[in-house]
């Protein structure tokens, strides 16, 4: 299986955030490209979910799910733009 895209992050992130982050735009700290999270390349066949920049492959975010606990890293993203409904 190859990668999917950021749409698949919605379920994992819905457990943590009260807004859907997948249409949010954010800046890649690797190359500076600004894109919506849904457009990221997402690898799900891994010990955690890994979202990478579609422009430069830099790791944008990871989600590690231990059932009762969950680790979220957004270290590859800066300036996350959220729109009010």
């Amino acid at each position: 299986m190859t990668h999917l895209d950021g749409n698949v992050l919605a379920g994992a992130l819905a457990d943590i955030f009260s807004v859907d982050l997948t249409p949010a735009s954010a800046r890649c700290t690797g190359c500076g490209a600004v894109a919506q999270l849904a457009e990221a390349m997402v690898y799900t066949n891994a010990p955690g979910i890994v979202a990478r920049c579609a422009t430069c492959d830099h790791v944008l975010a990871t989600v590690v799910d231990a059932g009762d606990r969950l680790w979220l890293s957004l270290t590859g993203l800066s300036g996350i733009e959220l729109r009010r409904a």
Binding site: A46, P47, G48, V50, T62, V64
Partner: protein
Amino acid sequence: MSFVTRGFSGRARERDPRLPPGQTLVQDWPVLSAGPTPRIDTAEWEFVIRDETGADHRWSWDELLALGVEDITADIHCVTHWSKLEMPWRGVSVDKLFENVESQYDYVMAHSYGGYTTNVPLEDLLDGRAWIAIEADGEPLDPEHGGPARLLVPHLYFWKSAKWVRGLVMMPDDDPGFWEQNGYHLRGDPWKEERYW
């Protein structure tokens, strides 16, 4: 809220005393990937150990093989709950690589082509417990499984056995690698079920 789904068993799973807690046996070899698969020609491949002085000890592919390739039989345990038993491997013992490397540091960061990192205590890599593996199941390692060469540290969870390994950097402290920064255990002993922080 969670309930058993009638009729669902998931992939065929078996119990075996050689399985660490929470692991299930698989016959196939699942491919896990956290990014694009690097394709590295052995003509360009290079392995480096960087010691605390910043000096690099380098091996080309042929130089690695010249250190001596040995047969290994190992059980491997992936943190995503699958294990494979008595898998045949071939590779070069990490002991051979460290024969001429002097270091006072106790920890190592393994680096891979593609940018992956994982931290390992040096003692987990020595005394015949770790290899630079180049073959599995009688075949050269596929790129999907980490070829041309991956680290093989079968007594730790398999995320420590870095695919596409290209070097080891000596560290004074046990700094976390990629998964270890993002929720997974600093050491990852499957028999102690050290999965997460």
